[in-house]
Structures are given as structure tokens and as C-alpha cells.
């Protein structure tokens, strides 16, 4: 043998000098596309998650056949030591599992096609009734056999597929559990077999019976067609936490000098005291029984309460009613609403029938609550202090059967939103009138507005 090697040496020197001239360097040849029969090309296993110990992970196994032939089964062995097919050990990656003794091949198909699984190509044929089982690590389920069989464990009637070199073969296994160590590579050894019988052979197959509870692997297999190694890796999860504070910005204001809303975004602007005088605009401004008179309060709400807000109005002061009182106890100008089944409803106030009511002109994302949900303009008509006589108002006090009235603990709900609000302007339009018999005096009422967010 030594002489033979010397001969080789001489021959090599000669040839090298002819081919390379004076320069030579070490090279490792690799194939990047199908050209080396036997070793499958463009092989990869895409994981749906790289999280250590993640369960229910999907593995997309894909490779190009290196040989034009028939394939009866595929072994995919997960190892921690090396992807080299033919290595006589396969160390179990801690925590890995194909999921069960009968792993699930998604859609029950092993497809082969000239298009890669990433290109969206439609499979030219489908490998029906694939079955799989595991072995090699006892209960670890580290070796997967995929085959075309009518019964579990690659038994029953089996068949093969005919593939040509360069065709993609791919299938998806679901329910996989990743190895438990983060940022750690592990490997898959892929071997295709000519028949199912050769794949599962108890003596010459990929995983002979004697090796099914150990890390031992045979160096060669009968019926091997193609092979290839793939490296995979687990990785840490990037966890980022950020906090958004719950916030609610609510304000109210009387009109500005021009009688319009002074509130700008996020309750900015020159707000005025929300105190209004309802009357004919004279000096003094008085109510009469011949007309309706109005006044406006402006509110604005901004909140990131994902379930919205409610705004309630609650009577303050000593009077026992929700309307206007001149003596601090009784309401000479009472709360006014329509009525339906004992509940207050929006209604037009008739001039000469003493009463006060309120209508909410809601902003974007806001819904007025009955009896404040009547039709109203929300803004005074040009050249007038008085709202249109057709505007509908209401006011919920103890006159009605409602438990959530102005005198209740939390007041009467004016409006609400179902979600967040961004500078939603809501106008409170008050309308009042007196009757011919309403005693003269100064009638007042005080209310507070309470906004409550649900986050």
C-alpha cells in the first residue's frame, strides 16, 4: 500500500503542477444545488417556533431529491451530536419530542413538486395515508418515520412515490416539542428509502430493533436512497414590557364670549365657569311662559379606557327635586320629560308649561342616554339665545320611577362611550320655560358632572 501511495503522490504532483501552477490551498467542496446524487439538496427544517421547550411546534421538512427513483419512506432523526448520516450515535436533544408515538403529519400529505414549499406551488401529487412512529430514545420520540401506508407504524398496504432528481419533497409535522436548552443547535438526519420495508426493517433499516431504545445508530442502511443533515437551533424569546397608564381627561365649561365652545384638544383653551343663566337675554334675563329659553354647557372627554366612559349628572344643593327651585326645597320649575312606562323620555317642552330639561349633543364615539338623547341642535341658532322649539329634552329625577336619577348616589347618566375617546366634545343643552302661574323669583339648580372610565 505504501508503494501505491507513493505512486499516487507522483501522479498528484504532476497533475497539480499542470492544473494549478504554483499555488494551492486547502478547499472544502460543497454543493449548493442538486448535483451530488445521494445527498439531498436545499434541505431545511423550518420551525414555527424556536422557543425552548415550546410545545405544539410545527416543523416543515423540505429537501430536493438527489436521485430519480422511487421512495417508500423517510426517516428524520433528531440528534444533538452531529447531523452526519451514518454516525453510529445519535445523542438525544434534551426535551425534544416529535410529540407522540404517532406524530401528526399535517394534512396527511407528503408532497413532491418542482416548486419549493415556500413558492406556493401546488403539489403535483400527494403522498396519501402517511403514518409515522418514533423510536431510538424510548419515550423520547426522537426518530420519525414517514411512509405511505394504510396502517399505523408504516404497516398495512404500502406504496411508493416516484420522484425525479431536483424535485422538492416536503411535509409538515405538527405537535412537536422543542429541545429545552436555549440558544443551542441540534440536528436532523434525513434519509430516504426505496421501500417502506427497508425503512422499517428490524435488522437493516434506519433504526433496527436493537437500537430503538438507545442512542446507537447503524452506519449503513439497506435501501437507502438519499440522505442529508440539517442544523436547527433553539433561541431565547425576546420579552419586552411597556406600560401605558390609564388616563381620563374630562372638563366642562360655559360658552366663550361668542357663545361657542372654548375647549380645545385635551381640555386646553380658555375655559369659563360652567354657570349659565337661562332667559330672554334681557337685563335681567328672565323666563316667560310664552317661549322656551336655553343655555349651553360644553364638556370634553379624552380617555384610553378601552371599555369607555359614562358621564353622570347629579343634583347638588338642598332641594329635593331635580328642577329649578327658588326656595331651596321645592322645584317651582320641575324636571321635564316625556314618560314611557314610568320612565322619562325625551320630549319637547311646551312654552307655558313650567319645566327644565336637558339634551346632550354627543361627540364622536359618544351616545346620549335617555331621556337626554332627544333630537337637539346642541348649538344656539344664529342670532338667538334660544334653541329651536322642536328640540327634545328630558330630566330624570324622583318624579320618575328610574332608580338612577339626579338625586341618586351616582346621579343620572347623561352619556357614555363604548371605547376610548379622543377629545370628544359633548354639548349639554338646557331648555326651560315658566308657566303663567310660576311664582316670580330666582330659580336655581346646581349639578355636578362625574365621568367614570372602565379600563
Amino acid at each position: 500500500m505504501h508503494n501505491r501511495l507513493l505512486a499516487l503522490k507522483r501522479y498528484a504532483y504532476l497533475t497539480i503542477s499542470l492544473v494549478f501552477g504554483a499555488t494551492a490551498t486547502g478547499l472544502v467542496f460543497l454543493t449548493s444545488t442538486a448535483n451530488a446524487a445521494g445527498q439531498v439538496q436545499n434541505r431545511s427544517i423550518e420551525m414555527s417556533s424556536s422557543v425552548p421547550s415550546a410545545t405544539g411546534v410545527t416543523y416543515l421538512i423540505s429537501f430536493k431529491a438527489a436521485t430519480t427513483t422511487t421512495i417508500g419512506g423517510i426517516a428524520v432523526d433528531i440528534c444533538n451530536d452531529t447531523p452526519i448520516v451514518g454516525s453510529t450515535t445519535c445523542v438525544y436533544p434534551t426535551g425534544f419530542s416529535w410529540g407522540s408515538a404517532t406524530p401528526t403529519i399535517a394534512s396527511g400529505t407528503v408532497d413532491y413538486n418542482s416548486a419549493s414549499p415556500y413558492s406556493g406551488g401546488t403539489a403535483s401529487a400527494v403522498w396519501g395515508f402517511p403514518e409515522a412512529f418514533v423510536g431510538g430514545g424510548g419515550a423520547n420520540y426522537q426518530t420519525l418515520f414517514a411512509c405511505d401506508a394504510t396502517a399505523a407504524n408504516c404497516t398495512g398496504t404500502t406504496s411508493t412515490i416516484s420522484v425525479t432528481s431536483g424535485q422538492y419533497i416536503y411535509f409538515t409535522v405538527t405537535g412537536v416539542t422543542n429541545p429545552s436548552t436555549a440558544n443551542t443547535p441540534f440536528y436532523a438526519r434525513i434519509v430516504t428509502f426505496d421501500t417502506v420495508a427497508d425503512l422499517i426493517s428490524a435488522t437493516t433499516g434506519y433504526l433496527p430493533t436493537a437500537d430503538r431504545t438507545s442512542t446507537t445508530r447503524p452506519a449503513t442502511f439497506t435501501g437507502e436512497v438519499d440522505y442529508g443533515g440539517v442544523a436547527l437551533s433553539t433561541a431565547n424569546t425576546v420579552s419586552i414590557t411597556a406600560t401605558v397608564m390609564e388616563q381620563l381627561t374630562f372638563c366642562d365649561s360655559g360658552p366663550n364670549g361668542g357663545g361657542t365652545n372654548p375647549i380645545t384638544s385635551y381640555c386646553a383653551g380658555t375655559l369659563t365657569t360652567p354657570s349659565i343663566t337661562i332667559g330672554n337675554g334681557g337685563t335681567p334675563s328672565v323666563l316667560s311662559f310664552t317661549a322656551d329659553y336655553g343655555g349651553y354647557i360644553f364638556t370634553q372627554a379624552t380617555t384610553n379606557a378601552s371599555h369607555g366612559i359614562v358621564v353622570n349628572m347629579k343634583k347638588t344643593g338642598t332641594q329635593t327635586c331635580g328642577g329649578l327651585s327658588s326656595d331651596g326645597s321645592t322645584c317651582g320649575i320641575p324636571a321635564s320629560s316625556g314618560t314611557s312606562s314610568g320612565q322619562p323620555t325625551p320630549a319637547v317642552i311646551t312654552a307655558g308649561t313650567a319645566g327644565i330639561g336637558l339634551c346632550v349633543q354627543p361627540g364622536t364615539g359618544v351616545t346620549a342616554t335617555s331621556p337626554y338623547s332627544g333630537t337637539c341642535t346642541g348649538v344656539p341658532p344664529a342670532g338667538s339665545n334660544n334653541p329651536p322649539s322642536t328640540d327634545q329634552v328630558g330630566m330624570n329625577d324622583t318624579t320618575y320611577a328610574s332608580l338612577t336619577n339626579l338625586e341618586s348616589a351616582y346621579g343620572s347618566q347623561l352619556y357614555s362611550s363604548a371605547s376610548t375617546l379622543n377629545s370628544a366634545n359633548n354639548v349639554l343643552e338646557f331648555i326651560a320655560t315658566a308657566s303663567a302661574t310660576t311664582p316670580p323669583g330666582i330659580y336655581t339648580a346646581s349639578y355636578t358632572l362625574v365621568a367614570t372610565g372602565t379600563f
Partner: protein, 282 residues
């Protein structure tokens, strides 16, 4: 001869040829002019196992030229391996790195391994950005590094929903956009940024962690993530961040994150658990 130790006898060697029938003539051919050489033994019966390239009638493994050095091998008197270790020699090694054509690629150097590998390391740790406000931008960065060998490339995917607060998912832009305070945005990119200022100096373009086998021209960052000061994240949570078309030594990637909220961004704690998946094709 059970173990062929040509290395010690001739200035070139082929590893793992011992399993091939030793008949016929040894031929050295050039595949790439002066760049490459292959050792061919006529063979008709042996399985093509563990080779970097093979056909029905030939098999190519690692090929060696030079005055010394090499990848640890073998057993016996001339072995560079003990029962536990192999020595990789570097004497006279003058050229290292990768070259590739349309059909082949080659790694130069003595200390080349024949095992496909993928190294993927994502920095661990929980990042707490703290309180977000509509008038500021929350930022964070994290690092991951990838190295492959004997691969035709790899891709890095993100497979995680945008930050979530209970059942609410933070809004993401439909394309790469600038960071805008007061508008709800969650986005990432993989390049060096100057806006927001907090990312200046801590964000970075992909870089080689080591010299040698690193070819940044093969690295393609998805266009949604390679624009300075522009950020994107898919509402689906699934997207390819990086495609690399060759083997490379360790490349560091810095992911920059921005969080902007509006006044209506629901309050609460937003959690983002980003799963990065590396898939290498061999």
C-alpha cells in the same frame, strides 16, 4: 489499509476515500480553473455517505493542499486525534473563506468542518421599557447572532404578535414609517438609527462578529427593516427579517424597537414576546 493517511505522504489528500473501491486511476480535475480540485475514484457500488459532494461514480470530501495543517482526523500513529480530542492544525494556512458559483461553493482553509452547523443566539433577558406617554417614544434594542456552515444560506423570521395588552393588540404601521409621537405605533428595524435619539449609538447595522468567513454582501435585510429611522412590524406578527445567501461566520444583528402611543391607547401593560426563528438551508 483501513485508514488512508495520504496527508502525511503527499501534499494533497482526500478524506474518507477509504470506503471507495480502490480501482482505476486517480484523477485530479479542475472544476474552477485554479480555484478548486476534486479527487475522483471510480465507484459503482458504494453509498455516497457523508461526502460534501458525490455522484454515482465519484465522491468528493474535504481536499487538502498545502505545507501543513488540517482538520483533525483519523486514528493511529499519524492521527491528530486522541480518544477525546482532535487537533486542527494551521501551519502554513494562507487562505480562508468562502467562494461560490452558481452550482458550487467552497470553503478555503485547513480548519474547515464537514458538519453542517447553525448557531443562533438571541440575547435573553426581559426588557422593561417603562411608562409610555403620548409625548415620548419608548425604545429598546436586542441582539441576535447567526452563524452557519456548509449551508446555502439562512433566513430569520419573526413569529410573534405585536405587543398585547389583554385582548388589545398595539397598532402597527402598514409600511416602514418614521416614528411619530402621539400616534400609536410599534415597529422594529435592523439598522443604525438616529431618530428617536435614544436609539442613536445603540442601534446598528448587521455586522460581522469575526473576520474571515463573513460576507456581508450575501446578507439581505427585508426592505421594511433596513431603512434608517423607519420602522415596521407586521400586524400578523409573521415576517422574514433577513435572508442570507451563503454560509457565514457569526453575524450580529441589532433589533431596534419603538413604541409610540396615542391618548386613546388603552391603559395597561403591553407584553411583547418575540420569537425569532432561524432556518438554514443546507
Amino acid at each position: 489499509m483501513d485508514k488512508l493517511k495520504i496527508k502525511r505522504l503527499v501534499p494533497y489528500m482526500a478524506r474518507n476515500v477509504q470506503s471507495l473501491p480502490r480501482v482505476g486511476m486517480l484523477t485530479v480535475i479542475s472544476l474552477f480553473g485554479w480555484m478548486a480540485v476534486a479527487v475522483i475514484f471510480p465507484s459503482t457500488t458504494e453509498a455516497c455517505t457523508n461526502a460534501q459532494s458525490c455522484g454515482n461514480n465519484y465522491e468528493v470530501n474535504e481536499v487538502f493542499f498545502g505545507s501543513g495543517g488540517g482538520y483533525g482526523y483519523g486514528a493511529g500513529a499519524n492521527s491528530t486525534c486522541s480518544s477525546s480530542y482532535c487537533a486542527d492544525e494551521a501551519l502554513g494556512e494562507t487562505t480562508v473563506g468562502n467562494t461560490q458559483g452558481g452550482l458550487f461553493q467552497a470553503w478555503a482553509g485547513f480548519n474547515t468542518f464537514r458538519t453542517p452547523s447553525l448557531t443562533f443566539v438571541v440575547n435573553s433577558g426581559n426588557i422593561n421599557i417603562g411608562k409610555l406617554t403620548p409625548t415620548s417614544t419608548g425604545t429598546a434594542t436586542t441582539l441576535f447572532a447567526v452563524q452557519t456552515y456548509l449551508a446555502s444560506g439562512y433566513s430569520i423570521m419573526t413569529d410573534s404578535s405585536p405587543p398585547q395588552n389583554g385582548g388589545y393588540t398595539m397598532q402597527t404601521p402598514i409600511s416602514a414609517v418614521s416614528s411619530t409621537q402621539g400616534s400609536e405605533q410599534f415597529g422594529i428595524n435592523l439598522v443604525a438609527n438616529t431618530v428617536p435619539a435614544a436609539l442613536s449609538g445603540v442601534s446598528a447595522n448587521p455586522t460581522c462578529a469575526t473576520t474571515g468567513f463573513c460576507n456581508m454582501s450575501t446578507v439581505t435585510v427585508n426592505s421594511n427593516y433596513d431603512q434608517q429611522n423607519k420602522y415596521y412590524y407586521p400586524s400578523s406578527g409573521v415576517d422574514t427579517l433577513v435572508n442570507v445567501s451563503s454560509s457565514n461566520s457569526l453575524i450580529n444583528y441589532t433589533v431596534s424597537y419603538i413604541y409610540n402611543i396615542s391618548v386613546t391607547t388603552p391603559g395597561g401593560t403591553y407584553n411583547f414576546n418575540q420569537v425569532l426563528v432561524a432556518t438554514s438551508t443546507f
